[in-house]
Symmetry: C2
Subunit: 514 residues, 2 copies
């Protein structure tokens, strides 16, 4: 009987230990909310990152301006060791200094367009006849041999400008979030893989077409990746490598301006264009940089351990990259500003990282992770690997935080469940075991380090802002950014003060192809 009682007690104690609640410092949460919601500087920070710096393409002077400004601002707020840290070799910088295209016949119509990144300019004003070529496979090119000299080339658009009866701007519904909190859906991934295969085939054909029309002496290319009502999506038109092959001048447009040209050509109308673009390649410094700064840890035993937060500061070139990703950078900077304003004394060091080169392949964060933590190709790890508690990333637009992706890490679930409780009334209450991809936390996750990205409301991310010419300061939602700032500040604070580092998943296997 006695033995049974003892066993029962032991089991109960073990259970209590297992279920011990993750502590939350509600005094600090309260102070963070007061500072972050009532004395916010997040929109001022966003203004300097967007309007004042301009677009921030990797290697551009706009990115340099934003890097320098952020570094200075972080120092001014009292962070230590603010510096630009080289993450490796990027390639040529590029920027444009003139962008103009118009139809001049059958009548004058100015067109909304932007040079594709890393394409050359037109070297003064270019006038030429528009020509539509229809190529579904490489062999279709032969029919155009000898016919393209001096022409400005278009291909039929692959998308239609559909009138949507849905709002451009959306928030997650409770139902959306419930689905998101369910298990990962294999179906989605299959679809994405199929899309990637199609996309790669399309890109290969496009490269063939572009090489052909250049060899045939065409003058320039116009293209579209979608976008309506004056919005157009954008990307690069050539590699940024220092030894990239030359390409033709190319501009991207929205579906309507492009569609008008294509319809006129298909109807046999003679379409004349005038175009003037000026672009320049920046080759003085081929390196890439991240902006790094710290709030040093104060606990004798734990100050060498690190909690990181960040987001990429580079953007595409057609506008000022407000939601992608000045928003994330402004929130992360605001989070450390709040913590400094409250004069916190964190046990662990808090380190902010504003990544470069994200848009071309997470270069900044991957370069940093390789230098500091290890190589995912070999899983040869560095000393610092042991010292990192967690990395928090923000890069899904201007929408407020609705919760967090656990990246398959079941062990952190009860921790985040507690830490999010004071923010349930700010609509942040979804913890999902799912992975999310596409941004810089992957550089950490690839090394078995706890790297997390938050769930955010989408707002106009997919419809209007992500990689478009309309990713402007106006698209930022001030109240959302304030909310995100206080949540990040609190989570980073609690990670820095926690007795133990955040629990980790088992180390992944080396992935030589990464």
């Amino acid at each position: 009987m006695k033995k049974t009682l003892l066993t029962t007690l032991l089991v109960q104690c073990a259970f209590v230990a297992f279920a011990q609640q993750e502590p939350v410092d509600l005094d600090m949460v309260h102070r963070i909310k007061q500072e972050g919601l009532k004395n916010s500087k997040v929109m001022e920070t966003a203004f300097y990152l967007t309007d004042v710096s301009g677009s921030r393409l990797s290697g551009s002077t706009g990115l340099q301006r934003a890097n320098e400004w952020s570094k200075s601002k972080l120092s001014e707020w009292g962070l230590k060791n603010a510096h630009l840290e080289e993450w490796g070799t990027f390639g040529r910088g590029w920027e444009f200094q003139k962008s103009y295209v118009a139809m001049t016949a059958p009548y004058y119509q100015h067109l909304i367009a932007t040079p594709k990144a890393w394409t050359p300019g037109t070297n003064g004003e270019l006038k030429g006849q528009a020509m539509l070529i229809k190529v579904e496979k490489e062999e279709d090119l032969a029919q155009y041999k000898g016919k393209l000299k001096g022409k400005i080339i278009l291909t039929p658009p692959t998308r239609e400008a559909i009138t949507s009866f849905e709002p451009d701007a959306k928030r997650h519904t409770e139902e959306d979030l419930k689905k998101l909190a369910a298990n990962p859906d294999a179906e989605n991934n299959q679809r994405n893989n199929r899309n990637m295969t199609d996309w790669r085939a399309m890109m290969q054909l496009r490269t063939k077409v572009n090489e052909f029309v250049m060899a045939e002496g065409a003058a320039a290319i116009l293209s579209t990746r979608g976008g309506t009502h004056g919005t157009h999506f954008t990307t690069n038109g050539a590699p940024y490598a220092a030894d990239a092959k030359p390409v033709l001048p190319e501009m991207e447009m929205g579906l309507e301006d492009y569609g008008r040209l294509v319809r006129l050509l298909e109807a046999g109308q003679k379409v004349e264009l005038e175009m003037e673009t000026e672009t320049r390649f920046l080759t003085d410094d081929l390196k890439g940089y991240n902006v790094i700064a710290e709030i040093p840890g104060t606990d004798k035993k734990l100050k060498d351990e690190v909690v990181m937060l960040g987001g990429h500061i580079d953007s595409w070139h057609a506008s000022t990259g407000a939601t992608d990703n000045a928003a994330g950078v402004a929130v992360m900077m605001e989070a450390v500003r709040i913590l400094k304003a409250l004069n916190i004394q964190p046990k662990r060091t808090i380190r902010i990282a504003l990544w470069g080169g994200e848009e071309q392949g997470l270069h900044g964060s991957r370069g940093y992770a390789k230098q500091h933590f290890g190589d995912p190709a070999t899983m040869a790890l560095k000393k610092e690997h042991e010292k990192l508690s967690a990395y928090y990333n923000l890069d899904n637009g201007t929408g407020k935080i609705r919760g967090i992706y656990l990246q398959g890490n079941d062990m952190v679930r009860p921790i985040f469940e507690e830490w999010f409780k004071p923010f349930h009334d700010l609509d942040a209450n979804t913890i999902t075991i799912r992975n999310t991809g596409g941004t810089d936390h992957l550089a950490f996750d690839a090394l078995g380090l706890p790297g997390f990205q938050f769930i955010q409301d989408e707002i106009e991310y997919d419809t209007r802002t992500h990689h478009t010419n309309q990713d402007n300061y106006e698209r930022l939602q001030p109240e959302d950014l304030k909310q995100a700032s206080v949540i990040v500040a609190s989570i980073v604070y609690h990670t820095a003060m926690r007795d133990k580092k955040m629990p980790r998943k088992p180390l992944p296997k080396p992935r030589p192809t990464t």
Copy 2:
């Protein structure tokens, strides 16, 4: 008893006569639907009016092209007496042949903008510093004396670029239509009157400001009337009268591009712009024209009577005026095409009118009405006034027809109720006693002639297309335009075949101020 019976019978007969149902020719309705829904040419017509003709500002070569094309097309379809009919003196035509503006400092950013109609060009490339002036009343101008030479002037925007969580495109709900079918709401009109007063005061101040900055030697003006995500609204920047006072070059932009410049200036940044616009005034022919064509009546007694249908063919200048009002013109042309394709033999003459000068004050329809029907200022009427049965207008965008405004004419209600019945299953079933304004049926209504405008779904009219740079072919809804075409064809046909002309309201009093 006998007398009572007789009285009862008489009362019953009178009641029967009163309630006699308006006949509907369902065979013809069926044939119209077959031709209009299965063999539609409405999008082809719209293509020629928009993409091929270009923008159609009053007096422009774009409008000339559209006028000539429409006249030829109507002849080709077998309409008689197709001609351009002068409605009076308009003033100078205007069009632009270059439109470019960009910020060059603090960094390069191309801007989406359009010269305001009837403003001069920059006479080559203009480079200048942007300057923000804040003027709430005329006296505020004094502080800027001597400071504006060579500057490009902006004033703070009066609207914010709000992110909407509502769809840009909408259809009327059953609830909307139920409200619309209720009595006229006086409140709305009061609000409109107040808005008009504010608007007039604002316009007067703007004229003062523009005169001042011109006298001070400013180089150009940038302004905004709203629009977001690459869409901007547009209008004229000077009168079109042949003797109008000279003004500065002026371009209109959307809220974000404009907002960026204003925020940078307010933050004390030096903002440099480069701008090149070329515009030309067309003074060879100051007259204005309508396009007129007929399907002649065949009934000996009724062929001198006329049923008219139409819409304005002119547009604003920044795009191709697809929903305002190529849509209405394409539908009205399609309606007569359908009737010709069916080889109908109408009792009354059917006459289509494509009005010019609507955007500057219903000039085309008012000029026509004055020449043919009478002068609303004196109510001196012409012979033809007696001969017109009704005029049907379409000018509220690309949305399908949901019913008709009776313009306060109770007598036509039972007629339209019957004529709309075969179209209830195409969502057209709302008859409202309300007036609607703003377009060419008013020229008829002002003379006591039955002039009607249809109720249409709004789609993106107020948000994206009405007087914007994005009123493009893509914004047209093919199925909606087909639906509208068959309804108009049927209503025009029944008006032409009816035993009597459409009932009229009592003649209005002379309105000397009109």
